[in-house]
Symmetry: C2
Subunit: 341 residues, 2 copies
Amino acid sequence: MNLKELATKLGLSPTTVSRALNGYPEVNAETRERVMAAAHRYNYAPNTRAIRLATGRALAVGHVIPIMTKHEIVNPVFADFIGETYSRQGYDMLLSVVPDDDEDRTYRVLKSRGSVDGVIVHAPRLNDPRIALLTEIGLPFVVHGRATGTTIPYSWLDVNNRRAFLRATEFLLDLGHTRIGLINGLEFMDFAIRRRNGYLEALAARAIAPDARLMFSDEMTEAAGFHAASTMIALPDPPTAFLVASMISGMGVRRAVEAAGRVVGRDISIIIHDDDLSYLPNGTDVPIFTATRSSVREAGRMVAEMLLDLISTPTPAPRERLLEAELIIGQSTGPAPRAVQ
Amino acid sequence: MNLKELATKLGLSPTTVSRALNGYPEVNAETRERVMAAAHRYNYAPNTRAIRLATGRALAVGHVIPIMTKHEIVNPVFADFIGETYSRQGYDMLLSVVPDDDEDRTYRVLKSRGSVDGVIVHAPRLNDPRIALLTEIGLPFVVHGRATGTTIPYSWLDVNNRRAFLRATEFLLDLGHTRIGLINGLEFMDFAIRRRNGYLEALAARAIAPDARLMFSDEMTEAAGFHAASTMIALPDPPTAFLVASMISGMGVRRAVEAAGRVVGRDISIIIHDDDLSYLPNGTDVPIFTATRSSVREAGRMVAEMLLDLISTPTPAPRERLLEAELIIGQSTGPAPRAVQ
DNA sequence: ATGAAAGCGCTAACAG
DNA sequence: CTGTTAGCGCTTTCAT
């Protein structure tokens, strides 16, 4: 059933039916009722392809996921982008999974073929070139995260990673730890840089000089966590606590501690950060974390809304939103951190 | 730059240009050269919206992710669906994240608005209603996994989960373990059912009666793994080994073992299965697993190809593909399983 | 308040 | 081999 057929059935012109369905004010209230009812009855669904061609809008937003060719991937949790935000406004969510050495072309094609009205930029990196590129080609975008080093203004939404790690470090410092090993993600990722800064800031505030041997930056895998922790434990003056940037590397850290014959929570404390808690139940009994499932979802929804706003605004001004993370203490991944004896 | 403009510049009709660009055989070789060159020079990109309307094809495939309203989500790893398979053929990948109580409507809308040419069904459940629905409304689909209990024929690609767990169980049995705790995912998920069957089958082959107290089925979270393992360890006759269905629950299992004062790999062996190794490096030093990163990616690519095949085939016959998983022994998550003393 | 007509940019018969 | 002519199903002036 298409518009024309529906119009014929109603004895109206397609124009009027279209106007009635799209809420144009000039339509007679009674007519609108009739149209609505008929549309519902005949299960009429407008053909998106036609709307797109006629209006010149794509009615879709893109999410481009860079697959790192040299590294393990960063895999955004798409469940967080509850389709509702998009679908409620009639937008589709397009996913492009592309090797990072091919990103440029992807964005240009997205723009020139008119596949999307805007994109969400995931996993921003230091001096991320995508921001300049998108600005240049005029494809609206919102960054989920931020890109340190970028000078041109752009819209973003980020979680305060610096503050999260600052507080986690302070927490350990308060327990008397002074040698705290940082097991961070790859530090060309923006979030990893900020986390490191938070860690350093906390140390600086207590006049503790950072020790390069206690700061590892690598992929957030089990093996990398194991390697980093093992190396640090083997130092003449090993750390008494670890601050780990992901659940998975945390698993490797635990293994390293145990392999060295130490006991987690007695000899060595571990704080594991993670902002993807899809594998943990909400609210209760979680380890030390700096985000909760619900807040991550909230962020996803907010980014989506920012983009839709941006698209529908004639002359949009860049918007920025910084979310504070929660600090939650529990013990799911192991015993809670202990004071140094 | 659109087709018409390009045609004018070339002094040709849009038709000819279109034919030249789309590889129709009747075009003069020399003409084609000229057209191609001009298209390249003027950076011509066809307008997808117009192609879609004109051909009546959506040039897009949908991935519908059901968000369980009552449970933690199943979050497919989309990086596995390397866009290349789709983009090479000019297809977009559409993502719909919807609450599971709203799936019906989503599929119907997808069909009636013509947003996609077909869909990939993720995370199939026992007697999954989606298969009947999609068959009924005539939207082509391929199931990533299988749906136990479904009678109508359909296309699917699955990893042999039964066999994977059969082999893992056999491995432990060969080491002398007879009390093996199964910590499984939710058993309304098809893959979880099959894994359980593999476990049971291995026990049956050795004439070992299954013990209901050694079989847990729950969400694959850290907390659930901890709870299941703790409960089993507290039994008068506790298991000497655990077979765990995910890396994350495995973390909880390890914690439970340690909390009980036992040593992993000495008192209790653990085999962790996982088929999402995004957090592990390829190839080396992985724990006992039944799939590798590359094979998971391979599967993703294959499903995508099956769907594209299906779409472009006039009268498609259902295709079925069962992949054998690899059994890899390593020790990233802990010591390798040991023989019972 | 409603309708007629043109057009979005491409493809696909049908001619020649 | 190339061009002419109609659409695809909707929106959007411009009339009435």
